[in-house]
């Protein structure tokens, strides 16, 4: 008999009491083969209670870690509990559980290390603010130049990781504050196999996005370029 793969949905959540119940319900219905862990980043609302009421594992941080390191906690949990695959899933209702299965299927089919759920690979009708679209294009271009690959949506947090990547992320000491294009570039340069799958996504239902406002996106872009420069210095370029 084929060994059953252990799959874990890692859901970082910060003040998501309004969205999280629906998200959990959806995963339980559509992806019942997988386990779920919610990483509660010291929410000030009832996120923890809602998650526990739904009978889902909830790990609460002892201080606010913000998105990236909260995700890393989940990946560490997966690593320590010997999971084969991790699916990073947002708590705000943007990601769709049925689409997550597509990532998982692609992962098994192509035997790759990371599968990214992409909004822009095909026209999935996802309405995207102009600023974000431009940002995505710039990073797509950088990846094309330095990694000789097309990754249409390097900023997508909707990803499926295999055991090799789980291990790397779990024990890496300098997990970036924004694990987006920079991490994709790093993994590509290190020779990991990354694939994309076109997925549908919803717009946020309630609550606040972490990239809102004017200052935050600017800080994000500067941080991202700065990190990418160092990654390109650190790791040898492909095709040289």
């Amino acid at each position: 008999m084929e060994k059953k793969n252990k799959v874990l949905f890692v859901i970082p959540a910060y003040n998501e009491e309004e969205n999280i119940a629906g998200v959990l319900e959806e995963i339980k219905n559509d992806a019942s083969f997988a386990d779920i862990v919610v990483l509660n980043d010291c929410s000030t609302d009832k996120t923890k209670e809602v998650v526990e009421k739904n009978g889902v594992k909830c790990i609460t941080n002892i201080f606010n870690m913000r998105y990236a390191w909260n995700v890393q906690t989940g990946i560490k949990y997966a690593y320590q509990n010997n999971y084969d695959y991790v699916i990073q899933f947002d708590a705000d209702g943007q990601h769709i559980a049925k689409e997550a299965i597509k990532l998982y299927e692609k992962m098994k089919e192509n035997n790759c290390d990371i599968v990214i759920g992409s909004r822009y690979l095909k026209d999935t009708g996802y309405p995207c603010p102009l600023f974000r679209r431009i940002g995505t294009r710039i990073f797509e271009f950088i990846i094309k130049v330095f990694c000789k690959r097309r990754i249409a949506d390097p900023l997508s947090g909707f990803q499926c990781l295999n055991k090799k990547v789980i291990e790397r992320y779990a024990i890496m000491g300098n997990y970036p504050e924004f694990p987006d294009a920079n991490l994709v570039i790093e993994m590509l340069l290190l020779g990991y196999k990354i694939e994309e799958v076109p997925v549908k996504m919803r717009l946020r239902e309630a609550g606040e996005s972490m990239h809102g406002g004017i200052i935050k996106p600017i800080k994000y872009m500067i941080n991202m370029f700065y990190t990418i420069i160092f990654i390109l210095i650190q790791y040898p370029r492909k095709g040289k």
């Binding site: 909830c58 941080n61 002892i62 870690m65 906690t73």
Partner: protein, 111 residues
């Protein structure tokens, strides 16, 4: 007379640092550069013309500027060292927090 003031200031700084270390409010390891700086202050306050000689030796026409340069270099060095330590510690704190959260959950689920 001026010299006495400077000697007093340097001694106060030196004694203060030593006192903090003795009361264990400052670690021996971290205090090294500060004690060294205090000692240099004492030496310079007792022999103020040593900075002139050094400037002369280094062919710096205005000796006080040498003093400023040395101070700035020292402060930048100390500051950079602190930044490095903060970054290291931040990484460790995050790691500890993550491990603790997972362990806490494990303990609670075993109850």
């Amino acid at each position: 007379m001026k010299k006495t003031y400077f000697v007093i200031i340097a001694l106060v700084v030196f004694v203060y640092i030593i006192r903090e270390i003795r009361k264990r409010r400052f670690s021996i390891k971290e205090s090294f550069w500060w004690v060294l700086a205090a000692l240099v202050m004492i030496i310079l306050s007792i022999f103020p013309y040593s900075i002139d000689r050094l400037a002369d030796f280094l062919k710096i026409s205005y000796p006080p500027s040498l003093l400023f340069v040395l101070c700035i270099v020292f402060l930048v060095f100390i500051n950079f060292r602190s930044s490095k330590k903060i970054a290291e510690q931040q990484e460790k704190i995050i790691e500890l927090g993550q491990e603790l959260a997972i362990l806490k959950d494990k303990v609670q689920s075993q109850k």
